[in-house]
């Protein structure tokens, strides 16, 4: 029997297991490191960065929905330079793979951010072209194959770290965007970011969020996300990291069977800070019960 049934290789990095904390749900690991042993995780994607940092959106930022939540945080972050100096070294000390998530308002923002991140001790650069909550840029780049390929190519030219492009489910055809990013040089893809949604305050007769629309996540979106990951994973040859509403080990198994090499867990961390540990334990149990040498044996079998 393999003593490391969950060990997973991703872009030259050996993950202890295929369970990664999704960007925007785990800060830079500081808060959750006080609550549990985060070195047990496969990796952590840091909060989405923008070149100069941001105070994020005004007004209500989170609201619950049936089996999920809408968020309109708007990439509140300390900026790339402070991440490189203060947060990346801390993340490295946590003992799991370190992934930096980079957003941007323009192609030049992305290029400059990626250049600065070359100096950071990180394992993977996740290019965020899918955040729905900032007025300029970000998701706009991920909606069409052409603009997604362009920013991917330009960042790939300057980035020293392996490049994983995080895709939006809101593109008319996410699979076309996935193929375009692959052709443009992406080393891996992560999908899906949040679904564009809306909430209205009936008593006040106005949108709940100042930005009107917001990103939907949580268990409610899981089947929608799974469909897109399944379709994309069947078409591209580069590794796919699947996410969207994962709340338990069986959900994670669904994404792996659909073709994902690893998974990211997001909103569920808010509901239950120990959810990822339960998922890791559940995956290990599954391998044992099904006599798997390694979890990769089920990858893409559906």
């Amino acid at each position: 029997m393999n003593d490391k049934p969950l060990e997973t290789e991703l872009l030259g990095v050996t993950l202890k297991n295929p369970v990664i904390a999704a960007s925007g749900t785990f800060g830079f690991g500081r808060e959750y490191a006080e609550l549990f042993d985060v070195s047990r995780l496969g990796g952590i994607c840091g909060k989405g960065l923008t070149l100069d940092g941001s105070a994020g959106n005004r007004g209500v930022r989170v609201t619950e929905t049936p089996a999920g939540m809408l968020n309109s945080i708007g990439l509140e972050n300390p900026g790339v330079a402070r991440f490189v100096a203060e947060e990346a070294p801390f993340m490295r000390s946590l003992g799991c793979a370190v992934i930096a998530n980079l957003g941007g308002h323009s192609v030049s923002d992305y290029i400059e951010g990626a250049r600065l991140l070359n100096d950071a001790d990180i394992d993977i650069l996740e290019l965020n072209i899918s955040c729905p909550n900032v007025r300029a840029g970000s998701m706009a780049f991920g909606l069409s194959p052409g603009s997604a390929a362009d920013v991917t190519r330009r960042v790939k030219e300057v980035a020293r770290h392996p490049l994983m492009v995080k895709l939006t489910p809101n593109a008319p055809d996410p699979v076309e965007v996935a193929l375009a990013c692959e052709q443009a040089g992406a080393d891996a893809l992560s999908l899906v970011n949040t679904f564009l949604g809306m909430a209205i305050d009936v008593d006040k007769k106005r949108p709940v969020f100042d930005n009107v629309y917001a990103g939907l996540s949580g268990p409610a979106v899981m089947p929608l996300a799974l469909r897109i990951v399944h379709q994309a994973a069947k078409r591209v040859k580069i590794p796919v990291v699947g996410m969207g509403g994962i709340s338990c080990a069986r959900d994670a198994l669904c994404f792996l069977m659909a073709g994902a090499r690893a998974v990211q867990v997001g909103s569920m961390n808010f509901a239950n800070p120990r959810a990822m540990l339960d998922i890791i334990d559940g995956l290990a149990r599954y391998c044992e019960e099904n006599h798997l040498e390694n979890i990769r044996e089920i990858r893409g079998i559906v």
């Binding site: 808060e31 609550l35 909060k47 105070a55 989170v62 961390n269 509901a271 239950n272």
Partner: protein, 236 residues
């Protein structure tokens, strides 16, 4: 896992939940309360501590939406997931204290009054509680306070003398906090306010509850929920 000992409606839409096997906390802190394993309602709800003694917690909560409505239906004996306590809590400033609560904002002030009394038995603790309609939990305050003034349907801060040598503490709806801040600004009183925001995680990771302060952006859940009112002048 915490267990519900009692969960009863004490006034219209106001519930008191008594939990055993719960963590201990300080006044002004909160827990994230969740129905174990539930995906809908999905997130925990931040609920302040009405009382904390050993491994028993008492909460006072108002049914506002789907989450709190689900709590109201939980029977005695049911398990409850308690995360925390989180947040900074009220500072226990030496000397006399004036405590001002509006509606369900009274909840964390009860544990505050109890802890103020325990820390300094001879201090004067004056309590002012405002309610829109029915008053509740008054007797619990009387057990520890020197005076409890109850205002129904008025402006509770109108009856507070902000010119005393005392620390002031306030928790309640925004208009009440604004009025307290205005009065304290005029007299130079020391005032601590407990803020409320929508939260997803309660630990400082999601940034759903950050607010603008004189010292940059802060997270209500982790850097607060208690702030010196001067620091959060833009938020109320």
């Amino acid at each position: 896992m915490a267990v519900i000992v009692q969960n009863t409606e004490i006034a219209g839409g106001i519930y008191r939940m008594w939990l055993a096997h719960a963590p201990q906390g300080n006044a002004g802190q909160f827990i994230m309360l969740r129905i174990p394993g539930a995906l809908d309602p999905f997130l925990g709800r931040p609920i302040s501590l009405f009382d904390s003694a050993g491994d028993e917690l008492t909460l006072l909560y108002q049914v506002k939406g789907r989450g709190t409505a689900a709590f109201a239906g939980l029977p005695a004996g049911a398990p409850a997931e308690v995360q925390g306590p989180y947040g900074n809590g009220f500072p226990l400033v030496p000397g006399d204290a004036v405590v001002i609560g509006g509606g369900i904002g009274a909840a964390p002030l009860h544990l505050l009054v109890k802890q103020l009394r325990a820390a300094e038995p001879n201090r004067r603790v004056e309590v002012h509680l405002g309610f829109r309609g029915e008053a509740y939990a008054i007797e619990a305050f009387r057990a520890y306070a020197d005076s409890v003034r109850v205002d129904i349907g008025g402006v509770v801060t109108d009856g507070v003398d902000f010119a005393q040598t005392a620390a002031y503490y306030a928790c309640g709806p925004s208009p009440m906090l604004r009025a307290a801040a205005k009065a304290a600004g005029e007299t130079g009183a020391r005032l601590y306010v407990s803020l409320e925001k929508h939260m997803a995680c309660g630990v400082g990771a999601c940034l759903g509850c950050t607010c603008q302060t004189a010292n940059g952006r802060k997270r209500v859940c982790r850097d607060g929920p208690v702030f010196d009112f001067r620091e959060v002048a833009d938020e109320r």
